[in-house]
């Protein structure tokens, strides 16, 4: 009987609390998935070597451009607000024609139908393409950061990176899933 009475007490305490909280709250926090993706990308970039001169001018900073919509973008914005974007310079581009602007191009999942065109534009240019849509790396993207059953993994298409003159250091390749273009 001691058991039954203690449960009643717990119920009595929990129920009003539950009703109280049925009211909506607001949270500024980003889902963990996108925070992890952002942090992973920041780390991955450190293991990439671009050819000495990119697009005609040699730079030490790395510009990360977002094309299309991605929930990872606001995470980077928040990082930048706190000055925690590291060596990255952020840019948001709307026009696919600007795809070759930067060292790193994050392609949002809404650009799935435009992938061919984008990869065509970037052919042979040392732009590291990053995406989170499924099959991105196999389709010719260089780095795919994706959620598999709740864990964030990343794939690297080394062949495409090599062809673009981008060197991906072996210690990164060792922990990545390396794929090739179909």
């Amino acid at each position: 009987m001691i058991f039954a009475s203690s449960y009643k007490k717990i119920l009595c305490l929990a129920l009003p609390l539950w009703i109280l909280l049925a009211a909506h709250g607001h949270s500024q926090e980003f889902p963990l998935e996108f925070k992890v993706k952002a942090v992973l990308l920041k780390k991955i970039v450190k293991f990439i070597d671009w050819p000495a001169a990119v697009n005609g001018k040699a730079t030490s900073s790395v510009t990360l451009a977002f094309l299309g919509e991605s929930p990872v973008w606001p995470v980077f914005q928040a990082m930048a607000d706190q000055g925690k974007q590291g060596a990255l310079v952020l840019r948001k581009i709307e026009d696919r024609a600007d795809a070759n602007c930067c060292k790193v191009l994050f392609i949002g999942s809404d650009q799935r139908d435009n992938l061919k065109e984008i990869f065509g534009l970037l052919k042979g240019r040392p732009t590291l393409t990053v995406g989170e849509m499924e099959g991105f790396a196999e389709a010719g993207g260089m780095v795919e950061i994706y959620n598999r059953e709740g864990n964030i993994h990343f794939k690297i298409n080394k062949g495409v990176a090599d062809a673009a003159g981008i060197n991906i250091r072996s210690n990164l390749l060792r922990i990545a899933e390396v794929v090739s273009t179909k």
Binding site: S6, I10, H153
Partner: protein, 647 residues
């Protein structure tokens, strides 16, 4: 965020546990005593079986009874037929209704393909169901997307005489991957008390497949199946061989096990905060005891549905329904009879859980309950409330109150078991028999738990948990007036010991886990457990064996593991385990020392040498209790070598 930035690639990739609320959640903020054994932990421990891998987990008790038999429990009540854990392999419950426990001998997999083992100590009944009294073990194998390619491994040694496995995985088209695999092992017998062979060698083979298919609209279909066959020796001690006096003898039994299962799961993700799955499995387990002509056959059919969604920004609901049928059948032997011999058992369940964010990112309350109806004990409810406070990214404090039940099994309600011969005052021999009791009720626990996780430095992680459990309606063995049973021409005097629920008790303890990344190449992990138990039979109980079993669990256990990555792709790993004495069974304390040395000359090839139980030539780990029947066996020092080739 700062926290994530400090993590290594590996830590980021491993981030998450699904068990606590069956959804993505960081281990750090979980409101339960969770521990995760990663694929790396298992590989570097040198463990060749799932039970041996569980030794690393704080709060777990793992004891080898003989070569193929283990006693495994968490937070006390350990025995060969321990019944307080719920064990799931890829969502399939491997609980046996025969004794509410797990036949550990047949819970196997290619360990290279095990993604992780999540262990939640304490009641996990709200989400997972009956039997999760002292813990849930969730064994998760890799998605077939992660096992594309071939792998061959083979090895052998002194106890692990020969073993090998083959796996091949492939991607078919854009959206489908599969793997097929096979495994075989031969294990040597241990030694008996006097150094004689213990007649407990065993061998087995299994083969299976897994397929994962991505479907449109973020849905996926998984199907897997397996078939296994095993033969195992068991030295039965003082078992009854009716019908002639002296009735009892020690004899060697041979157990043949054939089992298999098929599981299919359809999942769909609606959004980041909403998903569902529908799962069905069929599982068959058949055990033949050749020398006593006893057979157990279980067919399980299980269907479950889960749905999770955000009710508001601060509330996330998870709910689900499940229906399970177990058709069992026994070929009764001379001394073990089940009445009825066959039965259709069912369990219908519903669960509901609400995770409420009281303060975003900081304070979280989870309340819920499981409700179920089964054919033996009827209606059961198993509620829980959990609170986690994460004041900043370096500390988490959590507490919980929960209730769980261990529902009656076939032995509890329908066995007629001629256990052993005892002498009445005056010396007349009589057969002590256990009888199932149709009025047997569920055993209950009310558990209070709390814990603290802290990252005092970037490379140090500490996890503490404390618990106080109140048990009621525990199983006791009562005594009734003797009678004579006539069986054919013989008349057998029987002293009946029917099962009842006249025990109660309290357990409490502390568990700690630590990880220290000393440097990029050296990692140290450890675990510590302190455990106390106090059992009291009801005043009207006649069971004199109940209270002494409180001495059957070790008070102190700890382990220390060191993983080193040396130059030239060499790994050097050592583990030291300590287990305190089991006073009730006369088992002295023991230390176990394991060492693993591995070399990867090229990425696709790994050669390793493992020494186990190096600190002594042999030692016992578990003793006799009134339902164990296996003659005392000693675990021996052993060595094996192994080669793994991936292509």
């Amino acid at each position: 965020m700062e926290d994530l930035e400090a993590m290594s690639f590996e830590e980021l990739i491993e981030l998450k546990v699904t068990s606590v609320s069956k959804k993505e959640e960081t281990l750090f903020g979980a409101a339960a005593a969770v521990y995760v054994l990663t694929n790396e932990d298992i590989r570097r421990s040198g463990a060749t079986t799932i039970p041996e891998a569980l030794r690393m987990v704080p709060g777990m008790q793992v004891a080898h009874i003989d070569s193929g038999t283990w006693a495994i429990s968490a937070r006390g009540f350990n025995s060969r037929f321990a019944n307080n854990l719920l064990v799931l392999i890829d969502g399939r419950s491997v609980y046996s209704l025969v004794f509410s426990g797990v036949f550990w001998d047949t819970q196997d997999a290619i360990l290279e393909d095990v993604d992780r083992i999540e262990i939640i100590r304490g009641p996990g009944a709200t989400l997972w169901g009956a039997n999760a009294v002292n813990g849930v073990i969730n064994i998760v194998t890799k998605n077939s997307k992660e096992t594309v390619g071939g792998m061959v491994s083979a090895g052998g040694g002194t106890e692990e005489q020969a073993f090998g496995s083959v796996r091949y995985g492939e991607k078919v088209g854009d959206n489908l991957t599969y793997r097929i695999y096979g495994k075989h092992f031969e294990r040597d017998e241990f030694v008996g008390q006097n150094g004689d062979p213990a007649a407990d060698s065993w061998s087995g083979s299994r083969g299976g497949f897994r397929m994962d298919w991505d479907l449109p609209r973020e849905s996926s279909l998984t199907a897997m199946g397996e078939f296994a066959s095993q033969t195992q020796g068991l030295r039965h001690k003082d078992n009854l061989v009716l019908p002639r006096f002296p009735f009892a003898s020690t004899f060697d039994e041979e157990e043949e096990v054939i089992n298999g299962h098929f599981l299919t799961k359809w999942s769909r993700k609606f959004s980041e905060t909403s998903n569902m799955h529908l799962q069905f499995y069929y599982d068959r387990d058949e055990r033949d005891f050749e020398n006593t002509s006893f057979q157990i056959l279980n067919d399980t059919y299980d269907l479950e549905f889960h749905h999770r969604f955000a009710l508001s920004q601060r509330q996330e609901i998870a709910w689900g329904l499940g229906q399970r049928y177990i058709v069992d059948s026994f070929d009764n032997s001379a001394n073990v009879k089940f009445n009825p011999r066959q039965r259709l058992n069912y369990n219908t369940n519903f669960f509901f859980q609400d995770e409420i964010t009281l303060v975003p990112q900081r304070l979280k309350l989870t309340v819920g309950s499981k409700f179920s109806v089964n054919n033996v004990s009827g209606f059961e409810f198993q509620p829980s409330g959990r609170m986690a406070w994460t004041p900043n990214d370096k500390h988490t404090l959590w507490g919980s109150v929960s209730r769980a039940v261990r529902t009656p099994n076939r032995i509890n309600d329908s066995v007629d078991f001629k256990n052993r011969v005892v002498a009445l005052p005056g010396g007349t021999p009589i057969v002590a028999s256990n009888f199932g009791n149709l009025d047997f009720e569920s055993e209950e626990v009310l558990a209070l738990e709390s814990g603290y996780r802290v990252k005092p430095a970037e490379n140090i992680f500490l996890d503490f948990a404390a618990f106080y459990n109140f048990y009621d309606s525990l199983l006791t063995v009562e005594r009734k007036a003797p009678f004579f049973e006539t069986s054919g021409s013989s008349i057998i005097p029987i002293l009946p010991f029917p099962f009842d629920n006249k025990g109660s008790g309290e357990t409490y303890g502390l568990e700690a886990a630590a990880q220290w990344n000393v440097s990029g190449w050296w990692k140290i992990k450890g675990a510590f457990t302190w455990f106390q138990m106090d059992l009291t039979p009801d005043s009207d109980s006649l069971d004199t064996t109940f209270e002494p079993t409180e001495e059957n669990d070790p008070e102190i256990q700890w382990n220390l593991r060191s993983y080193m990555d040396l130059p030239h792709n060499v790994e050097f790993d050592t583990t030291l385990y300590f287990v305190d004495e089991l006073n009730g069974m006369n088992i002295p304390q023991y230390a176990r020392w394991d060492v693993r040395l591995a070399w990867r000359p090229v990425d696709s090839l790994e050669i390793s040498l493992v020494g186990q139980n190096l600190s002594d030539s042999k030692h016992p780990e578990f003793g006799d209790d009134q339902f164990q029947f296996i003659a005392r066996t000693l675990v021996e020092r052993s060595v094996y070598g192994k080669v793994v080739w991936k292509f």
